[in-house]
């Protein structure tokens, strides 16, 4: 294959924006976007809420400065302040740019882009399109990429980076339609593959494919991961699937009830009750379940989200989506019955360690979006900042790679190296000696993570989690690929995704064990307070000789001094 200047892995918001911006920066470049799904299927589409930008449409006195402060405070002071400044300063421009190219935003009376209040924000600055903001942004970006003739390789599963010393030579990927392993020699590779929270499996709101492929590939190539222990849990996921029941249900007045019929939030947040911050409500529900006041079912323990007192009319008019989801995924009509819920892994703050331009430690390798950790979210992400992150840093990384591609000589990937990848897959598909079922391993991984590396963490639990993951990795070597065909082998793809999840799970658990404090989404029962003296720093995890080597990196401070985070 002809060598590329830029190969982008992932076709969600970050990947598509990077492609557009790279083409704009230098139209002569040879750019490709690889995606394991059709780009319009990417998980960006699931973001409902919106994207924060201090446009000042709704609250005239909103400022970029306030957005910066809210984000830093929300991050529990672990975000890098220079990166947050980039995020928030670029926000108004990028939202307007999206508007200019066709994103259908909801509108205010004065015909400007509509904004609404969101958790942790001092002003209503979340720009939205009804409850489908991510979906419409993704559609817009995909449309524009089609318009500009971006070269897509859809349904290609990325396998490995080709590395020569401290430099990447490109990517090796499998064409799902043919099963053929193909080389993508490239001067630069951008990872934009989304988050890794699906490793919690049925205890995650993520799409099935959010297995952290980009992170795992980078990790295997020796690139460090940063702050992997920070995983955000959303309080109300559906019991069976982990799918999200949005905050709107509690916003409209829904109750959280335990098996004794109590509105237990009175114990944890007397004033705010069900409307406390996400991490607090998640911890409260988990406490109820741990202390035996949850309900039992074959699909796991849970508590009730009761909407019945709101009445059929209100549920039908204001919460139609929630009713539909509850019916579709639990078979429960919230007009008649309470919805069974429990906290669900929702977002990964950690990821590939990058600088403010998306560069990693390896020459020619970049990352952006949930896949990367710049870090703008620190220990806890604010609602409305994830869409913003993928847009702003997607664009920056596209621009950076386009500017820097010229620095590198054209890359080649040798036949021998390609053959190595093919042989590895062949071995993996050998039936002899392979008998473990990937489905069981995947479920066990999710269970041990939820139990031992979940909302409440503690030294002995984390040790247990690390041990479980090690055992699962051992058993994984014996996993059987039952489908031997070349054409669209989803069995093989899911096995490879499981491998990626297992590799990253170790970094999450190791990071969580190392961080002996409680900060943002990371709660240690044995270290219940934030310890700025010892732990106001990022953790790193690098793969050296098959082992996770822990490391650390200072947090970039700026105008804002450390403060206690209270709301």
């Amino acid at each position: 294959m002809k060598p590329f200047d830029i190969v982008i892995v992932g076709g969600g918001g970050a990947g598509l924006y990077a492609a557009m911006e790279a083409m704009k920066t230098n139209p002569a470049l040879n750019i490709a976007v690889l995606s394991k799904v059709y780009p319009n299927r990417s998980h960006t589409s699931a973001a409902q809420g919106g994207a924060n930008a201090a446009l000042g449409n709704k609250a005239k006195d909103d400022t970029i400065e306030m957005h910066i402060f809210d984000t830093i405070k929300g991050s529990d002071y672990l975000a890098d302040q220079d990166a947050v400044e980039v995020l928030c300063s670029e926000a108004p421009k990028i939202i307007r740019e999206l508007e200019n190219i066709g994103t259908p935003w909801s509108r205010l009376d004065d015909n400007t882009i509509a904004q609404r209040p969101f958790g942790g924000a001092g002003r209503p600055r979340c720009c939205y399109c009804a409850d489908k903001t991510g979906h419409t942004i993704l559609q817009t970006l995909y449309e524009q990429c089609l318009r500009k003739g971006v070269l897509f390789f859809n349904e290609y599963f990325a396998l490995n980076l080709s590395v020569n010393g401290s430099r990447s030579r490109g990517l090796i990927a499998m064409n799902m339609k043919t099963g053929k392993v193909e080389a993508f020699p490239a001067k630069t590779v951008i990872f934009a593959t989304g988050g890794y929270a699906k490793m919690y499996w049925n205890r995650s709101s993520n799409a099935a494919g959010n297995s952290g492929d980009g992170q795992a590939i980078a990790f295997r190539a020796g690139i460090p991961m940063k702050d992997m222990e920070f995983v955000q849990f959303h309080p109300t996921g559906l019991r069976k699937s982990g799918l999200l029941v949005t905050e709107g249900a509690r916003g409209e007045g829904g109750y959280l009830i335990n098996k004794d019929g109590e509105r237990f939030m009175a114990r944890y947040a007397k004033e705010k009750m069900e409307l406390g911050p996400r991490d607090l409500v998640s911890r409260s529900i988990e406490t109820e379940i741990l202390e035996g006041r949850g309900f039992n079912s074959p699909a796991g323990k849970y508590i009730h989200l009761d909407l019945r007192h709101l009445g059929a009319d209100l549920i039908k008019s204001r919460l139609p989506q929630i009713r539909e989801m509850s019916l579709n995924f639990e078979g429960v009509d919230p007009i008649e019955e309470p919805i069974p819920v429990r906290p669900t892994a929702h977002y990964s703050m950690g990821g590939i360690d990058t600088d403010n331009f998306g560069r990693t430690v390896m020459d020619g390798v970049y990352a952006a979006g949930e896949c990367a950790c710049v870090s703008v979210h620190g220990a806890n992400r604010l609602g409305g900042n994830s869409l913003l992150d993928i847009l702003v840093f997607g664009r920056i990384v596209g621009h950076t790679a386009a500017e820097e591609a010229g620095k590198f000589s054209p890359a080649t990937i040798s036949e021998a190296e390609l053959k190595e990848s093919v042989d590895e897959l062949r071995n993996r598909m050998q039936p002899s000696g392979h008998y473990e079922r990937y489905g069981a391993l995947r479920e066990e991984l999710g269970q041990t993570l939820a139990l031992n590396v979940g909302i409440f963490r503690e030294s002995s639990l984390l040790h247990k989690g690390i041990q479980d993951i090690a055992e699962l990795k051992e058993r994984f070597k014996k996993v059987r690929v039952f489908d031997s065909s070349d054409v669209f082998n989803t069995n093989l793809m899911q096995v490879l995704e499981l491998q990626n999840m297992l590799e990253l799970a170790e970094t999450v658990a190791v990071g969580a064990l190392a961080r002996e404090e409680s900060r943002g989404s990371h709660t240690r029962i044995d270290f219940p307070v934030r310890d700025d003296e010892k732990w106001h720093k990022h953790t790193l995890a690098t793969l050296v000789d098959g082992k996770v080597l822990p490391g650390e990196k200072p947090v970039t401070m700026g105008r804002y001094e450390l403060q206690e985070r209270t709301y």
């Binding site: 799904v37 059709y38 319009n40 299927r41 998980h43 589409s45 699931a46 421009k93 990028i94 307007r96 740019e97 200019n100 190219i101 066709g102 259908p104 935003w105 509108r107 009376d109 015909n111 400007t112 399109c129 009804a130 489908k132 979906h135 419409t136 559609q139 817009t140 449309e143 089609l146 318009r147 859809n154 339609k177 799409a207 099935a208 699937s241 799918l243 999200l244 309900f295 079912s297 539909e324 019916l327 579709n328 995924f329 639990e330 078979g331 429960v332 019955e337 069974p340 079922r437 990937y438 489905g439 039952f482 489908d483 065909s485 070349d486 054409v487 669209f488 082998n489 989803t490 069995n491």
Partner: protein, 345 residues
Amino acid sequence: MTETIDQHQEGKRDVTFRVFRFNPQVDSKPYFDDYTISAERGITVLRSLNYIKEHVDATLSFRAFCQAGICGSCGMRVNGISKLACTSQVWEELDKCREPGIIKVEPLRSLPMIKDLIVDMDPLVDKMKHYSNWIDSTMPLAEMGKKEFLVSEEEFHRYDKATDCILCASCVSECSILRANKEYVSPAVLLKSYRMNVDSRDSIHDVRLAELVKDHGVWDCTHCYRCQESCVKSIPIMEAIHAIREDALECRGPKDTSGAKHAEAFMEDIEKKGKLVEATLPIRTNGMVWTLRNLLPMAVKMIVKRRTPPPPPLVKSAKGIKIFRVMFREMTEHVKQDHQKTHKK
């Protein structure tokens, strides 16, 4: 008091999934496999397929991603109807089975088969490109990101519903025209075209419309409403198709293409006689040369079988035509007024 309180007493029901199988590497033709599992209330078709893949047959191949009805990956035919597997309840489907207890699962139609329930989406993407399914902004490049367009909530509502489309291709699979003509633009692409055409920020309305009125375009739709009935997001797709046609007649005139001429000829006949003058309809739609070249053999056959439509002078006006004409004029006047109200750019 009981130890476990589970208010959702979940009974289980045995259900057989009869699934379409085809692996081009080994199968010369498709076949069906039966998988029987027991499913509790609240289980979706997708979760059942996942269960089968994990526990019964790992070779069963289908696409799935978000599993929450927003990504559009798992479009397939369940009991003969195109829909998303992830939002289809097994227990509800059990009530719709042709054979009791057997849920039939097949791939979407009108798209090339790849394997089992997976079809090739590329033809749909190609059509989105062909019909410029994007906004070509009137904002100059140098001005991008500096200021917002001011768009009224009213304009937003014109395309709000259309932007719900997740390109799951259920409408593509159900469309009766596409099954006969793979070149046909397809409902999803018409919907997207409409959405772009009514957006005031767009600059290529005329270019897009010019493509839409050509062969295989908007005039080929036969109003069967299958697209709209099967839309998983309940989008009124037919309204969008009608709107494109009205737009075409308004912007390009009634003599523009055979589709427009056909519509015009219909109106003319209905107004004059209250029914169609079928004998001359092809000539008025496609012209004399086309008709002679394409329909002469059929005309001969019709004469032989004595099935020719009556010549125009013999087509008598329908009963009550005078009252009808008054009503007809009143109606067209109303439509014109409504049109001016809602479609003014």
